[in-house]
């Protein structure tokens, strides 16, 4: 039975297109997203992240999930020389950039473990897909054009995989370079294809934070294929990107 559902969680519209599962399975996936929100949100005073930030928890008292999220934050912070950071000076601990991809991937894994083999889960433009929507056809994941909201600039054909895009078009300049605290310039849109959304999403965000340096940095990340648009509307793409010819 196909299920389609949209719910706003973590401040994101989350759309599920489940081709072979039931509403109960879909609910379990959405419940895990709501749970991630209450556990990791820096905007909820009683979340684990907020309690850690206030010093109410020690590292030893953290759940394995938060330890995993924080270690991902640390890894990308190191790898980008601090351009990507979960601790922007003057603000509290904010692992959102990692939590989003991590939590959505976990929700997708719940669907798979629940027996689903064909679905597309889209959280605010970050996508996990499995199987095929129709026999012989991949999921067609359009990448939003940086200038036109109603058009795409490339279509990827994805079966089991994850696609994340970090871009400037909606919230204005919302990604800061952790090295300078200043808004990032040089790049308009970074799309990363990988087999895990935690990796794809964080790589896209971190590449964006690096500005122009992020182009080569993202392309050199293991198991990541990129599609990057710079300020001059020039496109840089990996040869391994699964571009779908329409």
């Amino acid at each position: 039975m196909p299920v389609r559902r949209v719910e706003h969680i973590m401040g994101l519209p989350i759309s599920l297109d489940l081709r072979d599962g039931d509403a109960e399975l879909a609910e379990r996936a959405f419940a895990s997203l709501r749970q991630a929100d209450s556990q990791f949100s820096p905007f909820k005073p009683d979340s684990e992240v907020s309690r850690l930030d206030r010093g109410e928890l020690t590292r030893e008292e953290l759940t394995p999930d938060l330890v995993e999220v924080l270690s991902l934050c640390d890894w990308y912070e190191d790898s980008t020389g601090g351009a990507f950071t979960a601790r922007v000076p003057g603000r509290g601990l904010d692992p959102c950039a990692v939590v989003k991809g991590w939590a959505v991937q976990r929700a997708a894994d719940i669907l798979r473990e629940g027996g689903a083999s064909s679905y597309c889960l889209n959280a605010g433009g970050d996508v996990v897909t499995a199987g095929e929507p129709e026999p012989g056809k991949p999921w067609r994941v359009g990448v939003r054009h940086p200038d036109f909201a109603d058009q795409v600039c490339v279509v990827l054909g994805v079966r089991d995989g994850a696609v994340a895009t970090s871009a400037l078009y909606e919230r204005g300049q919302h990604i800061l370079d952790g090295r300078t605290g200043q808004p990032v310039t040089g790049i308009l849109s970074v799309t990363v294809f990988s087999d895990d959304l935690a990796i794809a999403d964080t790589t896209a965000t971190a590449a964006f934070a690096l500005g122009r340096d992020g182009i080569e940095w993202a392309a050199s990340q293991e198991d990541c294929e990129v599609f990057i648009v710079d300020e001059d509307r020039k496109v840089f793409s990996s040869p391994g990107l699964p571009v779908h010819i329409c």
Partner: protein, 162 residues
């Protein structure tokens, strides 16, 4: 230890031009230029030398290196060149460089301590112009990050469409 691999990879990368050096390749830059502009290269073409595997010195014409069939072929041929196995305090490291003509297209660690052969990250990017299309799609990446934006987004249209 991780640092040793890129360093070795770079060392090998640095050696490659030296290995490739032959008197005939002295005008590599010009050959590349010719390859980039095939129509002019055609005009400058001279008969190919008999020995297929050498890049023997070819006579100069109009101060430009003539491009032969072999050289042209070498320009696009894919070859793997393995570096020496180097013993480090952490173990043996050996890298392999893949060349397309004279361009390095990939670097792979054949042997690295405590790890399987891995593809070294070497960015290979294609450049193109940004295009806009309104294609038939199932979902949108980078669609929206806010509730307000979502209402007007392509993804919202897709969610409502089926």
């Amino acid at each position: 230890m991780k640092r040793a691999i890129p360093v070795l990879a770079l060392s090998v990368a640095g050696l490659v031009p030296v290995w490739l050096y032959s008197p005939g390749a002295a005008h590599e830059g010009e050959i590349n230029e010719a390859a980039a502009a095939p129509e002019t290269q055609q005009q400058k073409q001279t008969p190919a030398p008999a020995a297929p595997k050498t890049t023997s010195p070819a006579p100069k014409a109009n101060g430009t290196a003539p491009t032969t069939q072999q050289q042209q072929q070498q320009q696009t041929q894919t070859r793997n060149v393995s570096g020496p196995a180097v013993n480090t305090s952490e173990g043996t490291v050996q890298v392999q460089v893949t060349l397309q003509g004279t361009k390095i297209t990939d670097v792979k660690a054949l042997r690295a301590p405590n790890s399987n052969p891995t593809r070294m990250a070497l960015p290979l990017l294609r450049e193109s112009a940004l295009k806009a299309q309104s294609a038939d799609i199932d979902t949108v990446s980078g669609a929206t990050a806010t509730s307000e934006g979502y209402k007007q987004s392509l993804q919202a249209a897709l969610d409502g469409a089926k």
